[in-house]
């Protein structure tokens, strides 16, 4: 990897770092939204909490990044348990709306904890000289950091998916009454899945905070980050390991390409492409190809008919 690294331009490294970050975010969302079937629309709360936990520790308490990042993960897990215990009793739209509200609430708390977080004027992580608890990684450093984060997220999710816990998540997704009847503690499965999901997203938030140096509550608690996670997983194929990877890589590269080459209308075209893909492959690209190969039915039109609601 280090040998290849000089071959990649700094600009491309930056782009790929963002792609890798979204791979981790999508894997994280997929655990609760895909495997367990609880669509969290407040997942960005973990991102913001991770970012602010790391930044506050590094800025105010001179804690090194390598201690601040695990603390950010702990923060994500605590928040998941705190809001998960009551909210995971809700299903469907109600859970989605409640988590959305929880994320908005978390942002406002950060906004108002001015002595600690700097409030609305944002926070700046010291990155140079004696003031910096950890020297700045630079573009190549963050490129590698996000790559490692993405690979670890994939590995964690892949191991979970093949475990007893993975089957328990799917059982909860399919039918909670039936899952309980065969001895699955559905409450524990939901809370743990939410916590692991939150931990992955919070870790990404910590890396993002350090990479950005300066940021605001509005930028790291931005609901559109949640929306991107959801779209990436749904388009790629929820409840699979390859799906979130395909969705994050595909959509992030497409979005950057359109922004550079289409100018004014790039968002419109990006949105239109998402609509078309969802209409043709409602179960996600990876699930479509898995079924298509197994059943030898490759026609997308056939697929639309099959999944029409």
């Amino acid at each position: 990897m280090l040998a290849v690294q000089p071959l990649i331009e700094p600009g491309t490294q930056r782009l790929l770092a963002t792609v890798f970050m979204f791979v981790a975010l999508a894997q994280g969302w997929n655990l609760i939204g895909g495997f367990t079937g609880y669509a969290s629309f407040g997942q960005v709360a973990f991102f913001g909490i991770g970012a602010y936990t790391a930044a506050v520790l590094m800025t105010n308490y001179h804690v090194s990044f390598w201690a601040a990042m695990p603390a950010a993960i702990v923060g994500g897990v605590l928040f998941a348990v705190l809001i998960g215990a009551p909210l995971l009793r809700l299903r469907g739209h109600y859970f989605a709306i409640a988590t959305l509200g929880a994320a908005e609430g978390a942002r406002e708390v950060v906004n108002n904890l001015t002595p600690l977080t700097g409030g609305g004027v944002g926070i700046t992580v010291p990155t140079f000289g004696a003031q910096a608890p950890t020297p700045y990684f630079g573009k190549p450093g963050f490129y590698i950091a996000f790559l490692v984060l993405a690979v670890l997220s994939i590995a964690v999710c892949a191991l979970l998916a093949r475990s007893r816990f993975g089957y328990a998540m799917v059982a909860v997704h399919e039918d909670e009454a039936a899952a309980g009847a065969v001895g699955i503690n559905t409450t524990a499965v939901k809370v743990v899945a939410f916590a692991i999901s939150g931990a992955i997203v919070a870790a990404a938030g910590a890396f993002y905070a350090f990479q950005q140096i300066q940021f605001y509550p509005e930028s790291v608690f931005d609901a559109s980050i949640t929306v991107l996670m959801v779209i990436m997983v749904v388009i790629g194929g929820s409840g699979t390991i390859l799906g979130p990877i395909a969705g994050a890589v595909g959509l992030e590269l497409l979005s950057q390409y359109l922004r550079i080459n289409l100018g004014l209308y790039n968002q419109l075209i990006f949105g239109a492409i998402i609509v078309v893909v969802v209409v043709f492959f409602p179960q996600g690209i990876v699930n479509f190809f898995r079924d298509a190969i197994r059943e030898r039915r490759f026609s997308p039109l056939d697929n639309i008919r099959r999944y029409r609601l």
């Binding site: 475990s163 799917v170 399919e174 309980g180 009847a181 065969v182 001895g183 503690n185």
Partner: protein, 246 residues
């Protein structure tokens, strides 16, 4: 005594689905529970397995009071059930459906690999080994019921509650189900079978409990229960009962 139900009652809004129901089941027994539609049969199962909380009364399993405990706690105590409307995990194969019970139930397998082996064994037992790789949605009504039974057995129960596993089956399929239930009892499992199909349940039960409008109408040996005119009346209406007596 493996199961004891004491003064169990459950109200839905203004309607009592079950009122003051008390009975007990001995280890190794097959108890049949019959009753017309709306008698409270499924509610009774849901109250025993923790899928519903009773309004009042107690459920005692293996000597310990489990009233109001969550379903998985009761499952870990060695109680398994089937659902009247089958509840397969649709996104998984038939084999994986059964393996989940083996992974998480009473005395569960440590690894996914072991659980899948247990599942293969149970699919053989209920007679759908050839459908192991299929999706649950592809199964016939009879095979879906067999899957439901295999899922329940995978959690290694001491007490098995089956909710209308024979409804909608053909004669030949009913015979296969009856012989399977006999084999399960011989392997040491106590069975409470809720059924609407009278003929089948009479042939397998040691004792029959009749529910009517949420209360126990009568209970006893199958032949006595069937001879009871109140049972005929509950099932077929009072006019029919009178006509038969005349």
């Amino acid at each position: 005594m493996i199961l004891e139900v004491r003064n169990l009652a459950r109200r839905f809004g203004g309607v009592w689905a079950l009122r003051d129901v008390s009975f007990s089941v001995e280890e190794g027994e097959i108890l049949g529970v019959i009753g017309p539609n709306g008698a409270g049969k499924t509610t009774l199962i849901n109250l025993i397995t923790g899928h519903l909380r009773p309004t009042s009364g107690q459920v005692v399993i293996g000597g310990s009071d489990v009233t109001g405990r969550r379903p998985w706690v009761i499952a870990h105590g060695g109680v398994a059930r089937t659902f009247q409307i089958v509840k397969p995990f649709r996104g998984l194969t038939v084999r994986e459906n059964v393996a989940i019970g083996a992974m998480h139930g009473n005395h569960h397998d440590r690894t996914v690999h072991e659980a899948l082996a247990t599942a293969d064994h149970l699919l053989e037992l209920v007679g759908i080994a050839s459908r192991a790789g299929a999706a649950p949605g592809e199964l016939s009504v009879a095979d879906a019921r067999r899957l439901e039974l295999a899922k329940a057995l995978a959690s290694r129960p001491r007490l098995l509650l089956i909710d209308e596993v024979m409804a909608g089956l053909r004669q030949q399929e009913i015979e296969a189900a009856v012989s399977l239930i006999h084999r399960l009892r011989e392997s040491g499992i106590t069975i409470v079978a809720v059924e609407h199909v009278m003929k089948a349940i009479v042939s397998i039960s040691d004792r029959i409990l009749v529910l009517h409008q949420g209360a126990i109408l009568t209970s006893g040996a199958p032949s006595d229960v069937l001879a009871d005119e109140r049972v005929v009346e509950a099932y077929l209406g009072s006019r029919f009962a009178k006509r038969r007596l005349n």
